[in-house]
C-alpha cells in the first residue's frame, strides 16, 4: 500500500464572524495516499473548500483561523512550518486550481508571465528556460498555438481555456499533490468533460495525488479512488469509491444519492432530504444531520456519533451502526 502524502488530523478551522463562531472545519481527519484521487464531496458550506485552503494555509485571517489539529504533508506538519517554508511547498509540492477560471487569473498580466512565475521561483529556471517549459505546459494541457497564448491576456481566452491554463500553472513544478476545488462547476458540460479528461490524464502521467473537491456525485463516481463525504464541517462518511456507491451507510449520503436525478434512470418522484443545512453558528454537540434524518433516534439529538470503521475500512459517523461497533 502506498504511503500517505497528506494526513489531516483533527483539523479545526473556525471563522470568527459578527454573529458568532462558524466551525467551518470541525475536527476533520482523513488522509490521501500517493498517486490516489480522493474526492471530498458535500454541499455548499460543508467545509470542503476550507479544508483544502487550510492545507495550503490560505485561510484569510481574520476572520478565519486554524485553531487545532495537524496536517501532515510528506512527513512534515504543515501548520508548524514557517511562512517561508510554506511558500516553498505552495505551487511547488502542492498545486491548486479553483472554481472560477474567469477570476482566478490576474487580468493585467499575460498568460506567459503568470505561467513562468512559479517555474522561475521554485525551479530556479532562467527566463528562457521558463518560457520554453511554459510552452510545453500549454501544449500538454491541450491548447494549440502555444506561442500566441503566451502573450495573450486572460480575458482573451474562454472559460475552459483559462481552466486549462490554471491546471498548467498548478502542475508546472510537478507537485506531489494537486488540489482541484470544484474545477468544473463554472463550466459547461461538454467543457467539463474535457477538463475532467485532462485531469485524469495528467494525474496518470505525473503520478501525483489528486484531491478533488466537488458537489457532483457523478464526477465523484468518474474520478475518485476514495471518497470523503462532509456535512456541516464534519466528515460523516468515507470509503473507497465502489464501496461507497454500492453500500452507502450514512443517511445523508444515501439521501444525496437518491435525490439527484440520474440520466437514464427515470423515476416518478425524486427522493428529498427535508429541511436545509443547519446554521453553522454555535452548533451544539450532537449529530448535525439529526433534524433532517428520517432515522433520527433520541441519542442522535444528544450526542455526537463517533467516526468508526467497519471491517472493509468503510468509516461512518452515525448512531444507526452502533450495533456493529460492539462486535
Amino acid at each position: 500500500m502506498a504511503r500517505n502524502i497528506v494526513e489531516f488530523r483533527n483539523l479545526k478551522t473556525y471563522f470568527y464572524t459578527e454573529e458568532g463562531v462558524v466551525k467551518a472545519v470541525n475536527d476533520v481527519s482523513f488522509s490521501i495516499r500517493e498517486g490516489e484521487t480522493v474526492c471530498v464531496v458535500g454541499e455548499s458550506g460543508c467545509g470542503k473548500s476550507v479544508t483544502a485552503l487550510s492545507l495550503m494555509r490560505l485561510i484569510q485571517s481574520p476572520p478565519g483561523k486554524i485553531v487545532g489539529g495537524e496536517i501532515i504533508f510528506d512527513g512534515r506538519d504543515i501548520l508548524k512550518l514557517s511562512d517561508a517554508e510554506m511558500r516553498r511547498i505552495r505551487g511547488n509540492e502542492i498545486g491548486m486550481i479553483f472554481q472560477e477560471p474567469m477570476t482566478s487569473l490576474n487580468p493585467v498580466l499575460t498568460i506567459g508571465d503568470q505561467l513562468m512565475e512559479p517555474l522561475m521561483l521554485h525551479k530556479h529556471m532562467t527566463k528562457k528556460e521558463a518560457w520554453n517549459k511554459a510552452i510545453e505546459l500549454i501544449k500538454q494541457v491541450g491548447i494549440p498555438r502555444a506561442e500566441q497564448i503566451m502573450t495573450s491576456y486572460p480575458h482573451e481566452l474562454s472559460g475552459g481555456m483559462r481552466q486549462r491554463i490554471m491546471i498548467a500553472m498548478a502542475i508546472s513544478c510537478d507537485p506531489k499533490l494537486l488540489i482541484a476545488d470544484e474545477p468544473t462547476t463554472a463550466l459547461d458540460v461538454t467543457i467539463q468533460a474535457q477538463i475532467l479528461d485532462l485531469l485524469r490524464r495528467l494525474k496518470e502521467e505525473k503520478k501525483m495525488a489528486l484531491m478533488l473537491i466537488t458537489h457532483d456525485l457523478g464526477i465523484v463516481a468518474e474520478m475518485a479512488d476514495y471518497v470523503v463525504v462532509m456535512y456541516a464541517g464534519k466528515v460523516i462518511e468515507e470509503a473507497p469509491v465502489r464501496e461507497l456507491f454500492k453500500n452507502p451507510k450514512h443517511p445523508y449520503t444515501r439521501g444525496l444519492l437518491k435525490a439527484k436525478p440520474v440520466i437514464g434512470r427515470r423515476q416518478e418522484r425524486l427522493y428529498t432530504i427535508p429541511g436545509q443545512v443547519p446554521n453553522p453558528i454555535d452548533l451544539g454537540d450532537f449529530c448535525y444531520f439529526s433534524d433532517r434524518c428520517e432515522y433520527t433516534m433520541d441519542v442522535c439529538r444528544k450526542k455526537m456519533p463517533p467516526f468508526v470503521a467497519d471491517e472493509n475500512g468503510h468509516k461512518v459517523a452515525c448512531w444507526l451502526y452502533e450495533g456493529e461497533w460492539k462486535k
Binding site: 454541499e43 455548499s44 474562454s158 475552459g160 481555456m161 459547461d188 458540460v189 461538454t190 467543457i191 467539463q192 468533460a193 474535457q194 475532467l196 479528461d197 458537489h215 457532483d216 456525485l217 457523478g218 464526477i219 465523484v220 463516481a221 468518474e222 475518485a224 469509491v241 465502489r242 456507491f245 439521501g255 444525496l256 444519492l257 435525490a259 439527484k260 436525478p261 440520474v262 440520466i263 437514464g264 427515470r266 423515476q267 418522484r269 425524486l270 427522493y271 428529498t272 432530504i273 427535508p274 436545509q276 443545512v277
Partner: protein
C-alpha cells in the same frame, strides 16, 4: 394531442453590437436565430443547452421581457408582441416567470408578504383585507410558513427564496410559467425539493412550463418534451423518452455522454467535443455545429441543415440523419 398554449414561430432576437466613430450598429449577436416550437397545455417543454446558446433569451422574449427582432409568439392565439403596453399588462398575470438567482430575484428591502402579494393588489385581483390570506395560502402551498410573511429576503436560504419566487408567480394563478434555471444554483438536496414542488404544483393547477436548464439529468426528470439548443437554434426536439433513448443529433449525443453518472462501475463510450463554443456574434457558416462535430462532412460547412420531422414528432437539424 392537446391544444397548444404557446406557439413560437421563427422567433429571432438579435442584440446590436455598436462600434465605429458614431457608435452605429456594426453587427448583431444572434442570440436567438429563428426558433419555432409549440408548448401544449399542461406539458413541460425543456430548453436545454450550454451557456450562450440563447435558451434564456428565448424564455425572456416569449413573455416579452425583450422585444423580438422577428417572428411571432402566440399565447392562446394572441400575438404577444403586437399588444399595446396596457393590454400586455392585463395579460401579465397569466404568464409568469421564476428566475435563476434566488439572491437577486427578490427585492432585498421588501417584506416577503409584499413581494408575493403586491402584484395581486396592483392588478386589482383581490381586496386589501383578503390579501393576507391569499399570500399565506400561496406561501404554504410552496412549503413556507405563514409567519414568514413579515420577514425579509436575507433571512432566508437559497432554497426558501426560490420557494418565495415560485409563490410570487403562483399567486397570480398563471397558466404558463417560464422556469429559467430555477434549480441550478441550489444544492442537490434542496434541488430535489424544488423540483418536486414544481411538479406537484403543475399537477394540482394544470400549469404549463417552459423549463430552461443546462442540466440534462434534471431535464430528463421533469420534461414532457425537450428541445436542445446550440448557438441560437434548436438542433433537436422530441418527446423526453425519444430524445434521451434515441438522440439523433451529434450535439445531443455528445451532451448526453458528457454528463457524469454516479456509478463507478459504469463504463461508457464518451464523445468528448473538441474546442469551445463559437461566439454567437460570429457563428460558423452552414451547420453552426460543424466546427466541433466529430462527424462533420463538407456539406455541413456550407449548407444550413433543415429542421425537419423525422417521424413521430422527433425534429432534428442535421445533414447526417
Amino acid at each position: 394531442m392537446s391544444e397548444p398554449l404557446i406557439e413560437v414561430k421563427n422567433l429571432k432576437k438579435y442584440f446590436p453590437i455598436r462600434g465605429g466613430v458614431l457608435q452605429r450598429t456594426i453587427g448583431y449577436v444572434k442570440a436567438v436565430d429563428g426558433v419555432s416550437f409549440t408548448i401544449n397545455k399542461g406539458e413541460t417543454l425543456s430548453l436545454v443547452g450550454e451557456s450562450g446558446c440563447g435558451k434564456s433569451t428565448v424564455g425572456r422574449t416569449i413573455i416579452r421581457l425583450y422585444d423580438k427582432t422577428d417572428g411571432d409568439v402566440l399565447f392562446k392565439g394572441i400575438p404577444i408582441h403586437s399588444l399595446k403596453k396596457s393590454e400586455l399588462r392585463k395579460l401579465r398575470p397569466k404568464m409568469q416567470m421564476v428566475f435563476q438567482d434566488p439572491f437577486s430575484s427578490l427585492n432585498p428591502r421588501l417584506r416577503i408578504g409584499d413581494a408575493v402579494g403586491e402584484a395581486l393588489l396592483d392588478h386589482g385581483l383581490v381586496s386589501k383585507n383578503e390579501l393576507r390570506d391569499r399570500v399565506i395560502e400561496a406561501l404554504e402551498m410552496c412549503g413556507l410558513a405563514s409567519y414568514h410573511i413579515d420577514r425579509y429576503p436575507h433571512e432566508f436560504s437559497g432554497g426558501q427564496r426560490q420557494r418565495i419566487g415560485i409563490a410570487r408567480a403562483l399567486i397570480l394563478d398563471p397558466e404558463f410559467i417560464v422556469l429559467d434555471e430555477p434549480v441550478s444554483s441550489l444544492d442537490v438536496s434542496i434541488q430535489a425539493q424544488i423540483i418536486n414542488l414544481l411538479m406537484d404544483l403543475q399537477q394540482q393547477k394544470g400549469l404549463t412550463y417552459l423549463f430552461i436548464s443546462h442540466d440534462l439529468s434534471v431535464v430528463e426528470h421533469i420534461s414532457t418534451r425537450v428541445a436542445v439548443m446550440y448557438l441560437g437554434n434548436i438542433v433537436e426536439m422530441a418527446s423526453r423518452d425519444e430524445l434521451f433513448d434515441h438522440p439523433l443529433h451529434p450535439y445531443t449525443q455528445a451532451l448526453l455522454s458528457a454528463v457524469p453518472i454516479p456509478d463507478p462501475d459504469l463504463k461508457r463510450e464518451r464523445i468528448i467535443l473538441e474546442g469551445d463554443i463559437p461566439s454567437p456574434a460570429n457563428p460558423p457558416k452552414g451547420c453552426k455545429f460543424h466546427t466541433r462535430c466529430p462527424f462533420a462532412k463538407d456539406i455541413c460547412k456550407e449548407q444550413v441543415p433543415e429542421f425537419r420531422d423525422v417521424g413521430g414528432g422527433h425534429y432534428v437539424a442535421c445533414h447526417l440523419v
